[in-house]
């Protein structure tokens, strides 16, 4: 298995400890499928990192891109804008699958009707089935 790890961690110090605000995006290449695992709050602070790694993933010319939101604790519109960009944007070369379970991520996707358009899977293993 060809493994490539990249990690981008952000921490917004203005927010204080209580919020537990660390967020991260990790890129992994799994047999030609690029998997972006997002953890923490996917908001303004983290969205640019998701965009950067999604663009880097596109350069690997994967057969499929999976964005795994299982570890996301807060999905803001800035984060959803990046999902749409990865799905429709100029660098979107491979089909996108989104892993989302639980209302923290599903509810915002439903309210914005992005759930109609994005291919959403309940778990990473489901999303990886060709």
């Amino acid at each position: 298995m060809d493994l490539m790890h990249e990690r981008d961690v952000t921490w917004d110090s203005s927010r204080g400890e209580a919020a537990g605000s660390a967020g991260s995006v990790a890129l992994e290449n799994r047999d030609g499928t690029a998997v972006l695992r997002v953890d923490g709050a996917l908001d303004l602070a983290l969205a640019p990192k998701l965009r950067r790694l999604a663009e880097r993933a596109a350069q690997l010319q994967p057969t499929m891109l999976v964005i795994d939101l299982t570890g996301v604790t807060f999905l803001a519109s800035a984060g959803m804008a990046e999902l749409i960009r990865a799905h429709r944007g100029p660098t979107a070369s491979a089909p996108l699958r989104v892993v989302a379970s639980g209302r923290i991520t599903l509810r915002p996707l439903e309210l914005t009707r992005l759930a109609d358009e994005l291919a959403i899977y309940p778990s990473l293993s489901d999303a990886l089935v060709p």
Binding site: T73, S77, R88, E117
Partner: protein, 525 residues
Amino acid sequence: MPSGPEFDAVLDAVRRTFVDGDSAPAATAVRPLEPAEARAVLGDHVAIAVTDRTVLADLVPGQDITRAIAIAGGEHGALVYTTRETGELPSAIAGAIEAATANLARTVRQLQGEAALLDALHAIGRELTAQLDIDRIVQDATDAATKATGAGFGAFFYNLIDEFGESYTLYTISGVPREAFARFPMPRNTEVFAPTFDGAGTVRSPDITKDPRFGKNAPHHGMPEGHLPVCSYLAVSVLSPTSGEVLGGFFFGHPEPDRFTPRHAYLAEGIAGYTAIALDNARLYDRERSLATELSRSMLPVAPPTPGLDVFTRYLPAATGSKVGGDWFDVIRLPSDATAFVIGDVAGHGVTAATVMGQVRTAIRSYALLELPPSEVLRNVSELTVGLFGESFVTCFYAVHRPADGTLVYANAGHLPAILVRPGEAPEQIGEALAQPLGVGSKFPQRTAGFPPGADLILYTDGLVESRTRDLTLGIEWLLAGIPGVLTAADLGKAWDKLVDDLTRGRHDDDIAVIHVHHRGEDAS
């Protein structure tokens, strides 16, 4: 216990020097020394003969030691000893080792000193440049620099620009209470201070009172009476790395002469450099944040009088961080006597988001005044948004009240649902998940609801109901639960402030916008 071949070789060499009367090797033993023990026995020495019986008995109890040498190895050390009668005196051996390694030991100590200095400077720099709060930066920098230079006291004078563009000077003090300086005027651009305030370079003096530049200026001709005694003097400028302008100056004093070395000057200059970067960052950050806040505020409307309706609005820019600038609301009187209510949120922050918001708001106004139906208004604006800004993500709820038939006609582009409360009924959510955001969607179906006298409509943005620590679903439930209390309150403004406070626990880190429309009934129009 230090390890490594070098130390083992030294130990071996020392052990070989223990010989008996016939020059045959004598049996020796080694007792490792912990750092505290090594410091106590060796002090600054690399090697020393240990003759003190009590010390030896402490280190190696119950042995009748005849000769012993302690050797330093890093922070640790070792004691080589024998219980036999040996010939040569260990003190001579220790002396020989000392002589051979003295230069080396001095160099090592010097390098350790340099490394500690760099470590300290680096740690201070990292702390300072990670901050954006000017008050904390200047105080932390002054404390760190005063400590690093060993000054009796230190002060940092810095220039700020107020909202009218005029420069003023503030200062921080370290090492003495602020009151010690409270009675004195700000230092002026005298000959002593000029090089620092002009950014001409560091001034270091063993005794400033003997400096030819000292005491030249009226009225004090020297230090004002009651000033803390300053003999040793060190001053460095803080220059902006982006503009080159002088941001301020550090001043250090000590009552005794000749206290500041070139090292101290080097440290103070290093801290001044980091302080300049931190201050520049903080000023740029402040400028961006206040610009975004200004832009957002200037684009918010004053709700026009609307016959028969009480319109209450609230806009609270993000209290923390740089997320200001995305939310807006609008209240538009239409030519047909209808009123349009708009609330929206541009994904993004700062000046960019505020600018997009301004254009989207104008576009919505224009289409609204043409009296296009809500679904057409949003469709046109969505197309325009894609054309103007490429990919964008703008949520927006658009509702029109038509007094002629007592209805609300609305469409919703990916925004949170609105709350409709009709007299005698529980609050209900309307327009939930009708369409995708502007810039994303292309179809925006509209709906119609009755809006009789006594009814209330509430539009809001997500900052009110969700945050990193508050789940959206729960946030909406809490908002719905709080609405009846607001509707019956004597003072609507206070009731909303309290509800916002309750929902955000007094700490909103995103913009919040709210429109509350109450249908007062058929009064004169």
